[in-house]
Structures are given as structure tokens and as C-alpha cells.
Amino acid sequence: MSSLENFAGRQVPAEINGRDAIPYMGVGGRKMTGRKAAPLIRSAADYPASGDKRTPSLKEALVNAGLRDGMVISTHHHFRNGDLIANQVFDVAKELGVKDLVWFPSASFPCHEHLIQYLEDGTIHHIEGSMNGPLGAFCTAGKMRGMGVLRSHGGRWQAISDGDMNIDIAVIAAPTADVFGNATGDRGPSACGLLGFALADSIYADHVIAVTDNLVPFPCLPWQIQGNNVDQVVEVEQVGIPEKIVSGTTQITKSPDRLLIAEHCAKFVRDTGIMRDGFSFQAGAGGTALSFAIYLKEMMIKAGVTAGFVRGGSNKYLVEMLEEGLTPVILDGQTFDLDGVRSMRENEGHQNTSPFTSYNFHGKGNFASMLDVVILGATEVDTDFNANVVTHTDGRLLHGIGGWQNCLASKCTILAVPSFRNRIPVILDEVTTLCGPGELIDVIATERGLCINPRRTDLIEASRGSSVPILEIHDLKREVERICGGSPQRAKTTDQVVAAIQWVDGTTIDCVRGLS
């Protein structure tokens, strides 16, 4: 396979699943012109005048949608590890003998291990979306027929709206819907919050199926998905398990070292003056990020500071801040626990957002760049502040990108990471897979102290006098290697590219190779 060297010096494939690939051109390097993709023209005359678009079963709906070999099928992760729909869609495809489908999820979770059998038997050709756990292992073993493509949440919207990816059938799990296809996620027995990840699919896909276990009389209010974009509505017994949206990454940490990292981050935000009236922040999923919010809240109360807005995923801790008046608004991208779901129904001050408003690079701005500070994680960082969020140092693909790349646009990006995990160093000379360029990463926060990117002389200056230990990243790396017993062996890979990593503008920033 021919490859090209991109702006970051990484060898990337020239072609991805039959499409020409564009190598990464640097931050803001790709200038797009022309028009966006558009959905098919449909006529109201072809839909029932009564507005009743019900189809008795998912199988019939997929047949009606013209499911056939090679189609691109999308599903969404608002139930996180409690998703029940993606597996059923491909069970039907298997039953119908359809082959070579492309699964285009907004994210995958361990519950989707069920799909490995379909990757093996050819029902699914490949996955364009995050691959966690068993799916990631399958991909890195070089067993997937096509190339995996990993995109950020914003990058997925970009790929759909630019026409890089055309979705043949989108299947949207809807906790509440009416017969016309209006749908919402904030209520119903399987309420999971909001459906922002499915919004682009509902607008652009050739065919849209809404699946619900809570059919309400027209009109379903509020509607997060507009029925005018929906072709069919299917009633099922259960669309998802909302309790499982609380996966491991959305629970608070008990580890004293991780609490220390969170405390360092909060003190840094306070001491550098980022924490001031009207400021904004986003702390993603992950125990350390959640603990950061708790420490920050205490500091805000003590200093009498209130935020201007906070970006969710809503969770218990952000909801407390909202209910105690520490922020007037939570801009929700997804929902991380059931307190978040409840608050969305009960409290003013929640605004549904989508990857379009928050993350999309090919739009007229987005919210991510307006954030004063964002706390994210990483699997590896290097001494140039580049970071990896998808593979481990042994080369295994284990995580998706999520909103991570998009959030790097914030005014201060802090990666909160332990400096080593169970003897495995996190600070390296060079990351295994480049997901985020160092010029966008401002602070690496570890249990041993914080490293500030030398490019950010303003932050270095502002942190003087802070009680948080500030370290030089090369010194930290040396200390980590002293503890861990030298630098680790690097992964032995084959030439086969098993997955491409896309940057927010649709270019390829790096790729993952098979393990030998």
C-alpha cells in the first residue's frame, strides 16, 4: 500500500477504503472551499398523510430501507455500554444474508463484542468509528477486512457534512418518540439524556429509522430529533439500559494519586487566574476529570467565583454546581449519569448541544475554542507535548477519540495523566500514535507535578507563586524512567495499516499498524 508523509512526519496511507486520503497539513493547514453534502430530496406525498410512519419490526424496517451488501449503517452511543440496538441491527443483517456492511457508529463499547462474529463471517466489512476493548484487539490483530477509521465527534460531523461519508441507513435509539418520528432522549423508561450524536445522521442519512420503547401521542415534546427527517418508526420492548451509561470512565476515582492529579489541576486553574467570574470549563469523562470538578467547585465557593458556562456531559457534580448557582448554564454534549438525565428534565439552564455546535471544524466557529480550560486524559504524551489517546505503548488500539481532539482548541488544554501506570511510562520521547499535536496541548498534569508547554510563556508566568509543583518535562521523563527501570521496548508492528486516525479537518494525522 502506498503511503505519504504528512506534516507531522508520520507515514500515512494514500488511500482509505477506496477513498483518496489527505495527509494532515498542520493545525488549520487545510483550507476547504465548495459546498457541503446534502441529503436526498424526498416528497411528503411519499409518506403517510396521517403522519404515522410505524413499521412493526426492525427487520421489516431494514428491508423497507433497502438493506443490501456494502451499505453504510450508523448507530449511536448515547446509551454508552447500555446500547441494545447496534447488535440487533446486525443480527438482522446476518439473518438476511447481507454482506460487507460498513458500521459507522458514533462510538463503540464493550457491549459490542457481539459484533466480532459478524466481522469474522463477512456480514460487517469494517468499522469506521472508535474501537474499544475486544473490537480494538480484533482490529490491531489485522483481522478486519477494511481499514478502521477513527474520527473525533466533531470529525464525524465533518465527514458526514462534507460528504466524506454517506450514510445509507441510520438507526437511532430513541427513549421517547411519536409516530411521526419526533424523538427525545430526556424522558421515557430508558431516558439517557440527549441524542446529539445522532443529529447529523438524522439530517444527512439516505434513510432514517427511529427505534423507541416509549411511543407517545404526537407531538413528542421536546423533540431533539425532528420527525421530518425520519423515514420509519419502530416500537421495541427496550432500546437501551440507561443504568449502563455510567461506565467505568464516568465514576469518581478513589485512587489517592489520581485525586492528587485532580487537585493539582484545580489549584493550577485557580492560581493562574483562569478561575475568575464568568470563566468556562469542560472536564470530560474519566475519574480524574470528575474529581477536578469537585475540587474546583470547593475553590470557586471559597473565592466567591461563578462560571459563565460549563460544558457537559452532565453528571452529578456539574448538576450540583448548576443547582447551587455556581454556573448558570450547562451546555450538554452527552449525559454521563442519571442525575444528569434528571436535571435535564427538571432544571432550566441546560442547553442541548451537538457535535455541530460544540466541535465541528467545518462550521462558523464552535464552542470548544471558547472554553477557558478543558481537562482531558491521554494514553501517552511525549516531550514535545504531542499526545496519544487511542493506542497503548504496546501498539494495541483500545480507545476512541471522542471529543478529545476537538477540545484541544480550548484556550488552555490540560492533559491529566499519571506519569506511569503499573510500571508503564506515560511520558515518552515520541508517542506511539499521534492524535493531538503538541502545539495545542498546554499542560501535562501528573501526580508528580505539572509540565507547562514552553510555547505558553503566559501560563508559565501566571503560574509563578502557585503551590503546585511545576516540572520540566524532560526531568519528569527521567524520573519516570528511573522508577520504571528505563524506557520501554517499542511495539513491533507489521506494514499493514489497520486503522487511520483522522484530524478534525478530515486529514489523516497518523495510522495504527498491525502487531507482529
Binding site: 504496546d394 510500571r423 522508577i483 527501570g485 520501554p488 521496548q489
Partner: protein
């Protein structure tokens, strides 16, 4: 990734360490001695693809250093640091009764720092001696002291293995500015523990369940045989008899710097329940404080065992401080900041102490024998206490370090 699994072959002559899929930053080593056939090395490691080659080389070097020639060695590794791999292999070989040399990791520069008698000991963090995973980051949480415990937190079957872990940790782990304490076992076993710590960077030995001065004499004498290093001592009093002998225990050795109390054993000795209010132990605590003060030592309070009760801990420290204790034992890193905060003097206490210290300096400068503040005479012990309060206030951030140069600041 391979996970350590039970080997069907279980005829080990010696073994040490922890095994199973949940083991983190530790390992298990088994040794089977053979008549001939050289060395056979088996390694299963969660970090095989990161450090596999290095681990094999280390283990081979270890077998040679430990005098193992004909043997099968199996190591199941869950990400153990090199000094832990070394400790487990050494302990397994010694468990197999192979008489050989110790296999010492390098004594790092930070392990050779000294301590001082009068330093703060507000917080001392207990670390189980056989659990290396808690040791590496312990100092980051800022305790005044760390305790590598060989006594109650170590299972009887793991005592020998824990000694090697503690010895290697003293030599290899950066405990920062924390004073390096080791709690030894009681009696003969405790005296034997000393040879694993005395020459390896231990600052202070904690002697448990001390009932009379003889026990302190024995430790003092053994230390004198083992090392020229000025290793300090801290007896724990944990029985009714110990309380009655508190003063003779406190004065039993020049090495003594502090006296502390263990209330679980003490209340058991009395045959009463340990309560949150602690009325049943008030006499013992005051007796220990009084004995310590009389001997010129610090008195340090016991641990607060409910880690999920920060408010209870705060109240307990304030009470201890009110009684005259200068420190509290910690069993979780998150207790440390709470303990330190509670030992910080209030602003009112700090400004009063500053005024006294100023008056003292002023009297010194003018060559006066008597210190007075306003119309009041100030006794020397009051000055001494004020100096200590000022030091604590500066360390606790209540008082600026340059307070003396600020004109009339309060």
C-alpha cells in the same frame, strides 16, 4: 497481554510475593532447587511487551548473585519495579534455604539524607511492608514521615519477604522530605528485623507494644552493634503496664525522640470498647503525653482508622492537639492534608506568638534578662512555645516567612 496464571507445577522449594490477576506493581517468585541441569527461567508478565527483555536479564543476574546454579525459577509479574523483582527473587531463594549473599539494589543518594530530633512529625503515613505498590508515590502526598510497617499489617507467613521489600524500598524509593520510619516486630523477631534496615537509610525505628525500658535497651544495643548511623527510636505504648512505665520507657535511650500510643491494643488490654469519644483512654493518653514531655520527647497520637470520615479525623486531631499531642498517624494519603491543617495554629494564635517572639528578640537585642510584653512578664517556656507556634504557622501558610521584617504586622 498475558496474565499470571496458576502453574500446574507446584513443588516450589521456596517462594515469595503476590500472585494472581489482580496483582499490581508486584510479582511472585518460585524457586525449585535441582541437582543438576543449570538454570531454567520462566517469566509471565503483564509488561512483557514493555520490559520483558530487561526483566529476564535482571533475573538471570539475580540468580547468579544469589548463588543459584541448578534450579527452576518462575516469576509471575504484574508490573513490579526492578527493586521489587529483586526483593521477591531474593526472598524466594532464601525461603529455599540457599545460603548466599544479599542482592542489594543501589543505595540512591536520596536514601542517605539525615533527619533531626526536633523536626515536625505531624503526620506519619503507615505503608504495609509487603505492599510495594503503595510505596513509590507515598511521598507525593506530603507526609512528615512514612512508616514501612513490618508488624501488624504483614501476615505472619510474609514476614521474611516483607523485610526484603522494606530494605529495598529504603534503598530505592524516593520518599522526598519525609522521615523514613520502620515499625519492627515485637521481641526477638523485631531485633532480627533491624539487620534489614539499620544500614539501609532508615531514620527511625518504631518499637511496638513496649511495656518496659528493657525492650528499648535491647533495640538500642542491637542498633549499636549494627551501625554507626544515628538511628532514632519511637516506642509505642499499647498496654496498661506500658502506660504505668511510660516515663522509664521514654528515658530508656538517647535515641528516643517521641512516644506514641496504640489504642486498639490498650482498650483490649483494659477489656473495654474503643469509642469515638475516647473517654476510656483519656488517662493513658495524658500519661503518655506527660511522660514524653517530662523526658523532652514529642507525644504523637494514634491513627484515625475511619478513612471515609474526614470530619471525624479533623475533630480527633483538634482534640489531640488540645491534649498536647504533636502528631497523628495516617492510614490513607488523603488524611495527611487534614491532619496538617488541623495542626496549623489559628491566625489569633499565630499573631499572639509573633508578638511574644518580637518581645523576646527585642529583650535579647537590648541585653535584658527578662522578657515582657506590655505590663506582663513572659516566662522562657512561653517563648519556646511561641517560637514553635510561629514555625508551625509559617509552614501552614498562616504566617508569611518574612513576618519579622514586616513592620508591626500582626
Amino acid at each position: 497481554m498475558s496474565t499470571p496464571q496458576e502453574s500446574p507445577h507446584e513443588t516450589w522449594t521456596g517462594s515469595a510475593g503476590a500472585r494472581g490477576p489482580k496483582v499490581r506493581s508486584d510479582c511472585w517468585a518460585g524457586v525449585e532447587l535441582r541437582e543438576s541441569g543449570g538454570l531454567e527461567l520462566e517469566l509471565v508478565s503483564t509488561v512483557e511487551s514493555y520490559y520483558g527483555e530487561g526483566i529476564r536479564a535482571l533475573l538471570r543476574a539475580g540468580c547468579e548473585a544469589l548463588g543459584l546454579v541448578n534450579a527452576k525459577v518462575r516469576v509471575e509479574d504484574g508490573g513490579a519495579y526492578p527493586w521489587v523483582l529483586m526483593a521477591r527473587l531474593e526472598a524466594a531463594v532464601k525461603d529455599a534455604d540457599v545460603a548466599g549473599e544479599d542482592w542489594l539494589p543501589e543505595l540512591e543518594a536520596f536514601a542517605t539524607t539525615s533527619t533531626s530530633r526536633d523536626r515536625f512529625r505531624r503526620s506519619r503515613l503507615y505503608l504495609p511492608g509487603n505492599e510495594p505498590k503503595y510505596m513509590v508515590n507515598a511521598a507525593l502526598h506530603g507526609p512528615d514521615a512514612i512508616i514501612l510497617d513490618l508488624e501488624d499489617s504483614v501476615a505472619p507467613s510474609a514476614k521474611s519477604a516483607a523485610r526484603v521489600i522494606v530494605r529495598n524500598a529504603l534503598r530505592q524509593v524516593d520518599f522526598g522530605t519525609a522521615e523514613r520510619m520502620v515499625r519492627i516486630n515485637q521481641g526477638e523477631m523485631g531485633l532480627a528485623d533491624l539487620s534489614f534496615i539499620a544500614e539501609h537509610g532508615c531514620h527511625l525505628v518504631i518499637i511496638p507494644k513496649v511495656e518496659d525500658a528493657e525492650e528499648v535497651h535491647a533495640v538500642d544495643a542491637r542498633l549499636r552493634e549494627l551501625t554507626d548511623a544515628p538511628v532514632l527510636l519511637m516506642p509505642i505504648i499499647e498496654s496498661a503496664k506500658g502506660v504505668m512505665n511510660a516515663y522509664s520507657i521514654a528515658t530508656a535511650s538517647e535515641r528516643n525522640v517521641a512516644l506514641t500510643i496504640g489504642l486498639e491494643d490498650y482498650t483490649a488490654d483494659l477489656g473495654v470498647q474503643r469509642t469515638k469519644e475516647g473517654r476510656e483512654s483519656l488517662f493513658a493518653r495524658q500519661a503518655v503525653i506527660n511522660a514524653a514531655r517530662a523526658a523532652g520527647l514529642q507525644a504523637l497520637d494514634t491513627v484515625h482508622s475511619d478513612v471515609s470520615d474526614p470530619e471525624g479525623l479533623r475533630a480527633a486531631v483538634l482534640e489531640a492537639r488540645g491534649l498536647g499531642f504533636e502528631g497523628k498517624g495516617c492510614i490513607h494519603p488523603r488524611q495527611i492534608p487534614i491532619v496538617h491543617e488541623a495542626f496549623v495554629p489559628s491566625e489569633a494564635e499565630a499573631s499572639k506568638a509573633c508578638a511574644i517572639v518580637r518581645a523576646f528578640r527585642d529583650a535579647e537585642a537590648r541585653g535584658l534578662g527578662v522578657v515582657s510584653l506590655g505590663s506582663k512578664m513572659i516566662d522562657p517556656p512561653v517563648v519556646k512555645r511561641a517560637l514553635k507556634t510561629v514555625e508551625q504557622a509559617v509552614q501552614g501558610g498562616v504566617l508569611d516567612a518574612s513576618w519579622e521584617s514586616e513592620e508591626g504586622g500582626s
